[in-house]
């Protein structure tokens, strides 16, 4: 029996044929979906945002805020604490850096990003010195997981910031204030070297004065001889003195590398559980050769040959991320978090060995099949990459 004869004999087949006939006459035309899927995705998660710098504001002697507005359409929403990856062409080298958005998500007209001068800050210094109002920039869509998650963070929050690590918290604090989320209680503890270094001090003080559920404590590590506020580092004792009962609280940390090392120990000594601590990712370590597991025999200055599948060959230093070496040689690969977390730059290593610092977020099977995250991978041998 041919398939059609079989079908004809199955109970109910004719009904289905008739149903299809009717639907084909009166059903909706799928042509109306042209472009719809892509538009809907882009409204929340565009690959690229075209921006204009509308304003540059001095925050402190070493920090500036760039206010960015959309060149077309509306800016996509973000969750307070998220970042955008900002692209730049600096002296012919195309690269990018992720910056937390410091403005409130309730302010839908612009994104503020606040940048502080750092030593050898190739990209940050470019944004601080070269960029002026009217300049055009391109960024990724907002991304990142360092934000309040109502599924499990609760409403009793402690924000621990260090230096320019204040930026995601600035957004979160304003969000709570702007939306009147009075059930969400926050204590922001902000460590800086000296008083002139504190970014957003007046605005944070003002918000804390006006909102009972928001507290703000700046802590100065190198205070003048006479200083009334909190001094030193953010220690277990300081946390206990300021916060009272720690058990219901969720702690968020964002700051320089050294602050994580110090504060995580302090939190551990207070018996805070892992699930109560949220850490913002940070870029490549300052000195990768000091990281645990770095092979002693490899010097950061050592150079290796990296062969690409497209036939190109470049040299890469052991102490520099592969992504930076690639960009220096005019090869741009997809980048977003530049911290080993998002896996956008995931690349197959065809031969050779690389070093990933602890905490790189590589999937188990990606490890098994030889994938690396070049944004935080360092060459330890000559390499071949599938790029």
């Amino acid at each position: 029996m041919a398939l059609q004869d079989v079908l004809n004999d199955i109970e109910g087949y004719q009904d289905i044929v008739q149903e299809r006939e009717v639907l084909m006459k009166y059903g909706s035309d799928m042509m109306h979906l042209k472009g719809v899927t892509q538009r809907r995705i882009s409204s929340l998660h565009p690959k690229r945002i075209l921006l204009t710098v509308s304003e540059v504001r001095e925050e402190t002697f070493s920090a500036k805020t760039l206010r960015l507005v959309a060149r077309e359409g509306i800016l996509p929403p973000f969750q307070a604490g998220q970042y955008i990856n900002l692209f730049a062409d600096i002296g012919g080298i195309r690269t990018s850096r992720p910056y937390s958005i410091s403005s409130s998500p309730d302010q839908t007209g612009y994104y503020d990003i606040t940048i502080r001068r750092v030593e050898d800050g190739f990209v940050s210094n470019y944004f601080l010195e070269e960029v002026k109002p009217g300049d055009k920039l391109i960024s990724s869509g907002p991304s990142g997981h360092f934000h309040h998650n109502p599924i499990f963070h609760g409403d009793d929050l402690v924000f621990i910031a260090g230096g320019s690590g204040i930026t995601p918290f600035m957004s979160m604090v304003q969000d709570i204030a702007d939306r009147g989320l009075t059930e969400r209680r926050v204590h922001l503890i902000y460590g800086s070297k000296d008083a002139s270094d504190i970014i957003f001090h007046e605005r944070l003080q003002e918000i804390a004065d006006r909102h009972l559920n928001i507290s703000y404590t700046p802590v100065i590590s190198e205070p003048p001889v006479v200083y009334k506020g909190k001094k030193g580092f953010i220690t277990a004792k300081l946390l206990q003195d300021l916060l009272g009962d720690l058990s219901p609280k969720t702690f968020y940390l964002c700051g320089p590398e050294a602050m994580y090392t110090f504060c995580l120990k302090e939190l551990a000594s207070l018996g805070i559980q892992k699930r109560k601590i949220r850490i913002e990712v940070f870029g490549p370590p300052k000195e990768v050769a000091l990281q645990p597991g770095w092979p002693e025999e490899i010097l950061p200055e050592q150079r290796f040959v990296v062969q690409l599948k497209n036939g190109k060959t470049i040299y890469a230093q052991a102490g520099e991320t592969l992504m930076a070496s690639l960009e220096r040689n005019g090869m741009v690969i997809p980048a977003l978090c530049r911290s080993g977390e998002c896996s956008l730059c995931r690349t197959k290593l065809l031969s050779g060995k690389v070093y990933h610092p602890p905490g790189v977020k590589l999937r188990k099977s990606d490890r098994d099949f030889g994938y690396i995250h070049p944004c935080i991978a360092y060459p330890l041998e000559d390499l071949q990459l599938m790029i």
Binding site: L3, Y26, M30, R40, I41, L44, C345, R346
Partner: protein, 496 residues
């Protein structure tokens, strides 16, 4: 001149097996994927110390090397089986109707019948008869349809001819009166997204039969390990692949495939395309309107887009047993009527119907020692999410997620207090990562009228083939196998 014998659009399950099928036959193939990772649904992501499985719950069609299921046979022929570690699940599922029913069904016919009879003693007889029907029907379906018996007839395969297009609800009603029993028995309808009153009995019977006969499985390293293995095999076989490379256009010349244009504007010539993008997007978004076959557009009118999903991925800082989880697959519902539950998929009200998978229950190493990995899934259509203003989207998403966690916390008290990592995915998230219209996870609604008898994987355009959920049923096994089938079709045409 062609640059490639075959171009495959999309590295989802079907796209990967299609590309590999073609490459292993010695043909020049290029696989294009808009995302940066292969797999589509078959992938994972990391939060904190957890690597979350995105979509695989119970892999069907595997069986054992001695008694291989259909999917194992395909993976064998593609040369990837030895790169994978399969983990068998002893149970079909645990069904929890909070406060009323809590029953675990073994993936073994006699044990399953026995367990159901214990829980529903009044229906002892109908339970056995129903399972007999499932088995006899499935055997007839395999003999008559899958084996293409030339003498297939109503007389030879009476159950198949009677029940194939009947709906699951009618058959359950025919055998049982107890609404709890009907609910527990029919829960696998969730794996197709079609409520019992619409689900073809043939889809249900063959699924239950196959899960019992070939057992549900998981994979060490999750479904990403399967995707990575398939991709690795493709590269080994000489296939090319480009990630972050979306196809913007399919070029057609006088009714024949001529090539593709990528988002970067590269034009790549080929006479054969296997599309793992949906049929809808392949035509509507990638082709000039004058090239779209009228009969395909007409056929689209008979179709509706199927559900997407709302998923919560949880990393817990306790062993599963500590909160009472002891089975990998758990269906939790307070809504006995599947049709009512499915009606609520089209609203933003949480409808008390979900599935909870705990991967630690299918073997170690799915999360660090002393922790567990859990995924809570419910089906959701994208339409109500379109109405949410973009700036309220996250609030709505978290509100929905919290009601789902609260509901599961009733079945597993303490769940909420052990959450160390959590990520929620709405239909819009599915849409973002899969590129599917309306974030559909199973393709179009899998009603009887949309089954393989009415939807073809070969386009009227010469050289265009389809793979994936839109030309078969949704799920891992069907989509993986559909790629093999599409690859074979393309190879046959290449020979001509």
């Amino acid at each position: 001149m062609s640059d490639y014998d075959v171009i495959v659009i999309g590295a989802g399950n079907g796209g990967m097996t299609a590309a590999l099928t073609v490459a292993r036959a010695g043909k020049k193939v290029l696989l294009l994927e808009s995302h940066n990772v292969p797999g589509g649904c078959a992938t994972s992501f990391i939060r904190g110390r957890f690597e979350f499985e995105v979509a695989l719950h119970q892999l069907s069609g595997i069986g054992t090397p001695e008694k291989p299921g259909p999917l194992r046979s395909v993976l064998d022929r593609l040369g990837v089986t030895n790169k994978l570690e399969f983990v068998e699940q002893p149970d079909l599922y645990r069904a929890i109707i909070p406060g009323v029913v809590d029953i675990t069904l073994k993936a073994e016919r006699e044990a399953l019948v026995h367990e159901l009879q214990q829980q529903f003693p009044k229906d002892k007889d109908p339970i056995r008869k129903f399972m007999n029907l499932v088995y006899d029907f499935s055997m007839q379906m395999i003999g008559g349809l899958f084996m293409k018996d030339p003498e297939a007839s109503k007389e030879k395969y009476p159950l198949y001819f009677k029940y194939a297009f009947k709906n699951l609800k009618d058959v359950l009603d025919e055998y049982f009166a107890d609404p709890y029993l009907k609910c527990v028995m029919g829960l696998y309808w969730g794996y197709t997204g079609v409520p019992p009153s619409q689900m073809p009995f043939s889809d249900f019977a063959i699924m239950l039969f196959a899960y019992i006969e070939f057992k549900p499985y998981h994979l060490k390293g999750g479904s990403q390990s399967l995707s990575n293995a398939l991709l690795d095999a493709l590269i080994q076989a000489g296939g090319d692949v480009r990630f972050n490379c979306e196809v913007k256009k399919i070029e057609v010349k006088s009714g024949k495939i001529a090539g593709v244009v990528t988002e970067e504007g590269d034009r790549i010539a080929t006479n054969h395309i296997i599309s793992n993008a949906s049929t809808v997007r392949t035509y509507v978004d990638m082709m000039d309107p004058e090239n779209i076959p009228a009969e395909e557009l007409k056929s689209f009118k008979a179709m509706t887009i199927g559900p997407s999903a709302f998923i919560i991925y949880l990393g817990l800082d306790c062993e599963p047993a500590e909160i009472g989880i002891n089975v990998a697959a758990n269906f939790i519902t307070s809504e006995l009527d599947g049709d009512k539950a499915a009606a609520a998929f089209k609203t933003l009200d949480f409808h008390q119907w979900c599935m909870l998978s705990c991967y630690n229950e299918c073997g170690a190493a799915f999360s660090p020692d002393g922790t567990s990995q859990v995924a809570i899934v419910t089906l959701q259509n994208a339409d109500p999410w379109y109405a949410v203003p973009v700036h309220q989207y996250n609030d709505v998403k978290y509100r929905y997620a919290n009601s789902l966690v609260d509901f599961c916390n009733r079945a597993f008290p303490g769940l909420r207090d052990h959450i160390e990592e959590a990520e929620a995915a709405s239909p819009l998230t599915c849409m973002r990562y899969l590129g599917q219209p309306a974030g559909a996870i199973y393709g179009q609604d899998n009603f009887a009228k949309d089954s393989r008898f009415f939807v073809s994987n070969k386009s009227p355009i010469q050289g265009l083939y389809f793979t994936g959920a839109w030309v078969t049923t949704g799920g891992f096994e069907p989509t993986l196998e559909s790629g093999w089938a599409a690859g074979k079709l393309a190879l046959a045409d290449l020979k001509k």
